[in-house]
Structures are given as structure tokens and as C-alpha cells.
Symmetry: C2
């Protein structure tokens, strides 16, 4: 599904734009930390967040990651999202996700979160496109 | 609708992520040049582009702009899109849009485009949110 260039771009500490669908079908977008695991993308969020409620109701999502080193390079992944309602698994995954952005401070960051339940999003792309210039 | 911080972020030469809706309602996203005019956002595209066809059929769109100087800062604009099918107006506007990114080379860039008809998107936000830290 993903080629080597797309994997290399996704493995940078870039920011993902996560698009979910509101109840009326209008797209809603936020900027998120993420990590790639094989050909899936993982993110964590509070279970009560708007994006979580949207994905619980409608699993259709699109993830865009643009290259922090050149905004002309990007990958668009149209996905179905699996929402894992497992607070411990979500916090454990966040440790891996956060390490990409803040390195050794990830453990401290994860420990600093409040107790509100977290969910893990696993995005399964069914269509990948974009543009990666040399 | 937009506050001063949001306008300042939008006036940077950042890249917009434009989200449109596919016929089946799945979000589709691309990375775009744009410019702000008052509280609207303008972009140009070929009339035959997927995003143009999507917006002709369904005017619901969301635009996300994240700060090239800090990916933690972003603005999300949920919009209705007015698609102006006027090739001359679209090319004229592109000159202004491109100048934000490539300065004096904008005229040359616009002149280099092929003859395929262009359209101008004017995005009217009805809800603006995001995060801008100091």
C-alpha cells in the first residue's frame, strides 16, 4: 500500500491533519501527533473529544501528512478507522507516538495526562496518494 | 469571524489543506496555495480537478492551515465554497496567490500554465477554530 518514499515521509516527526465527519457530513479537521506501524497510522485522543465521537459514529477518515522540510511533499491516506476503547493500550501507544516528537520527555508527558479515558485510533488506508518530489 | 492572530497566521506563506467530499461522502484532502481576502480564503484549480468536481457537486469544505513556524499552531475553517467558473478571474487571482509564495516569479508561473479552464474557489467560513499559542 505505502511505498518507500511515503514511509520515509510518514516517519518524519511531521504533524498529521486528521479529517473526520460531523453528524451532518461536514468534514472536521485537527492537527495531530501520530506514528506509522506497518501500513497503518496510529493516534491517541480523549474518548470525549469531538474527533473520537465522530469516528465512533462514522469510521471514515482521511489523514494528510505534509513534509516539514517541504510543504510541496505530502501523502493523503483515505482510511477506515478502528477506534480501540482501551485506555491502557492508548496510553501505552502514546508513549511511542510522543517519543517521535519529544524524545526522552515522552514518559513524563504521558504521566502528566489527566485520568479521562483515552482511545487509540488505528487508521487502515484503502487509498494512498499525494506528491513527493525529489 | 477571524481574529487578529488567525489573520496573521493565515497571511504567512503557509500551505492550506483543502478537504472536499467525494460522491460517497468520504473526505478527500489536498495541499494548496491560497490567499486570505477579508474573512474568506481563495484558491485556484483546474475545473477538471477532483476537488473542483467535488466542490461543484457539494459546496461543503474544510480548510486547515498550520503555521510553518510551529506545527502546533493552526486554524481550521469550516466553510461553504463558492466555485467561480471564470477562467480569466481565476488566473488573475492566481497571480495574487502565487505572489505570496514565489514573489516576482508569479507572472511567469501563471503565464506557463496550460489552457485547460481554471476555476476560483472562494471559501466562506461559518465556523473557525484551532489553536494558536504565543
Amino acid at each position: 500500500m505505502l511505498d518507500d518514499k511515503q514511509r520515509a515521509l510518514l516517519d518524519k516527526p511531521a504533524f498529521a491533519k486528521l479529517v473526520t465527519l460531523m453528524p451532518d457530513g461536514h468534514p472536521q479537521a485537527t492537527v495531530m501527533w501520530y506514528r506509522r506501524v506497518d501500513d497503518t497510522i496510529r493516534m491517541m485522543a480523549p474518548a470525549s473529544a469531538l474527533k473520537s465521537k465522530n469516528l465512533d459514529r462514522d469510521s471514515r477518515a482521511t489523514v494528510v501528512v505534509d513534509d516539514p522540510d517541504s510543504g510541496y511533499n505530502y501523502v493523503e491516506l483515505r482510511c477506515q478507522c478502528e477506534v480501540v476503547h482501551d485506555d491502557a493500550a492508548a496510553r501505552d501507544d502514546l508513549h511511542h507516538i510522543a517519543s517521535r516528537y519529544i524524545g526522552d520527555r515522552a514518559a513524563e508527558f504521558v504521566a502528566s495526562l489527566d485520568d479521562a479515558p483515552r482511545v487509540l485510533f488505528i487508521f487502515h488506508p484503502f487509498r494512498v496518494q499525494g506528491q513527493i518530489r525529489e
